[in-house]
Symmetry: C2
Subunit: 380 residues, 2 copies
């Protein structure tokens, strides 16, 4: 294997596949990045067996010579060193050559700097999942990034019920519904998609995979192809293939958790409310549960308060555009509320309560594609 | 105590005095910030008993009303909460009032937000060191910041010989000489000062104090007054007093460590040399000591290399403007060399060696005010 390549492109690709490389793997070869060069270009692969990422650098793109392949071949190099080395090379181009085919000695040259790395046998690197026939649809990259951001924070971090560590992606007709819950709160986001699926299709994608994917997605509206396979999902971007295993098991039906009626409705400015909760949580954090209280006051105002006997207490009145229904005193986690408010888009939100002990729902006014649900905390 | 104050000024002062507050103090009241209001303005104090910082906010500055004092008084508030709270207040002004003088209950109001904090008795807060007659001289703030940056990194982090955890500031005639060493490397910086000292005066200032001071110093050339007292040093800025205790004991005479002759002289471009060392250290870091090798090559070139049997090796040739004297092969810590090169100003440096086992000296060409000394590592 021998090729010369533009440093910037190599650095970017290495950075992308590094998102799948874990230093804590039990499979030694997965601490490496697999490099394959052939007449089409150079492909890099990183994997922690849950997530696998392949990034491809073509020899020529838009009349620009990006890589010149002098000899085809493959090698696996230690990801930690390879990624640090390429970043710090002195020139704009890099030459990479396997100089000893029996022990995979690899030379990385750039200007006067010459690294000699011990490589590993690429045939020992696990094969990526085969791309089988699967259920295929598309989403723009920026929308996918938004959907992930608005749901993935609500997955469970506990392995007690592993299925809740993932986000449920369900395609029903021409609608994608993404749901995450840790059983204390729930985030739901819908989006219109074009599919030819004959019946509803549901998978559970590990939250960690989606978080890593989201770091690779750019803010363009370029389409990303999503392929649901038997145990895997594949996200296909322009030069990147992102594979993730799926979580096994059925995701519980969460639609029954979402109240359909409402006893108290409060409309608020998102930013003002978020800042008031943030201030109240300064003292609440010291307590066990980071719990703040919300109560309706006369005249279109709500009161946010929290109390930490050793430190002190905080009270703040927040104006509401509209308060309808029963009076209410309710307590909830300031962290969950802030997470939910940050995930919502829109300057105004509507919160619908069905009593102090029942889950409540937060939605942007004028937007039905997203909702956040939070279970209150019993304090009153 | 009751006053209204501009939030920005309060936030800035709190941030300054927080540099002295430690959460790991054994004296409970030092987890607080002392606030004193009188007709002149508001002063805040933080201290960990090694460092004490007082920041003063005048009622009026340049015709701008910064604080309005309604009632003089004092209180101590938990630094951690107070600093978080003031940052997050909704309006540009803040009202602070001690509402209960027997238990120091303090209300912080801004817009609709009202915090009620449990305060502490200000009389229990330790007094700042008295400003006695001392040895006084001045330095511009930006120069002082540079001097600290160029020396403080070389102090020892080990308490084996506590004196080496400080930087030796010595005033001799009209020269300030600052020296730090951890016995493996040494940093020395001189600066011209105007003093009326009758004889040389030497103190040892804890490295930690200088690091914190450096965060408070701005990049202006405003004068900072330095007052050496019996056990303390005071740095007086416009609205800030920064006290640090001094380390006890005599700082060893380090001038004899600095070689006066040279067997090999090498001149290099600082940036090219630093980057080559950085690259070599990528592999060297894996080894025990982060050691790289330098050897002179014919024709005004030096070779930088390092070797880590499990990972690989790196070799790089670096052009030298001038090599004079004996051939040389020497090994040293890449970290120490990078620290030294980053501290030096100037695009070209001269390194003077007196053999592979003797300390060597790095200086900018054309600047005698600074030098860095490094002890080699025995590997050849």
């Amino acid at each position: 294997m021998k090729f010369v390549i533009q440093k910037d492109r190599l650095v970017q690709s290495v950075q992308d596949v590094m998102k799948a490389v874990s230093s804590r793997t039990t499979i030694p070869i997965l601490t490496g990045i697999k490099i394959v060069a052939d007449h089409r270009g150079v492909s890099l692969t990183g994997s922690d067996s849950d997530i696998s990422i392949e990034s491809f650098i073509p020899t020529v793109e838009e009349d620009d010579q990006i890589a010149t392949i002098q000899e085809s071949g493959a090698v696996v190099l230690q990801a930690k060193f390879f990624s640090e080395i390429v970043k710090k090379l002195p020139l704009d181009t890099v030459e990479i050559e396997v100089t000893n085919k029996s022990n995979y000695q690899t030379v990385i040259r750039s200007g006067q700097a010459e690294f000699n790395l011990n490589g590993l046998d690429p045939d020992e690197y696990p094969h990526l999942p085969q791309i089988e026939d699967g259920k295929v649809f598309q989403l723009p990259a920026d929308l996918m990034k938004t959907i992930i951001r608005q749901t993935v924070f609500a997955v469970s971090t506990s392995e007690t019920r592993p299925i809740f560590t993932g986000v449920n992606w369900k395609v029903e007709g021409n609608e994608l519904i993404c749901v995450a819950t840790d059983s204390h709160r729930l985030a739901l986001r819908k989006a219109a998609v074009e599919t030819e699926f004959e019946e509803a299709y549901s998978v559970v994608i590990p939250g960690k995979s989606l978080s890593e994917l989201s770091k690779i997605l750019d803010d363009s509206s370029d389409p990303v192809e999503i392929v649901f396979m038997e145990n895997q999902v594949l996200f296909k971007m322009k030069h990147i293939l992102f594979f993730s295993r799926l979580l096994e098991g059925n995701y519980p039906d969460t639609s029954r958790l979402i109240p359909t009626e409402s006893k108290t409705t409060i409309e608020l400015n998102t930013k003002e409310f978020l800042q008031a909760i943030d201030r109240a949580s300064l003292l609440a954090r010291e307590g066990r549960n980071n719990v703040v209280k919300l109560s309706t006051v006369e005249q279109n105002e709500i009161e946010i308060s929290s109390n930490s006997p050793e430190i002190g207490k905080v009270i703040e009145l927040v104006k509401s555009q509209r308060i309808e229904g029963e009076e209410l005193k309710i307590s909830f986690s300031a962290k969950y509320m802030m997470d939910a408010l940050k995930a919502l888009e829109g300057t105004e939100i509507r919160i619908q309560f069905t009593g102090a002990m029942r889950p409540f729902v937060i939605r942007p006014i004028m937007d039905d594609s997203i909702l956040q649900l939070i279970l209150p905390v019993r304090t009153y």
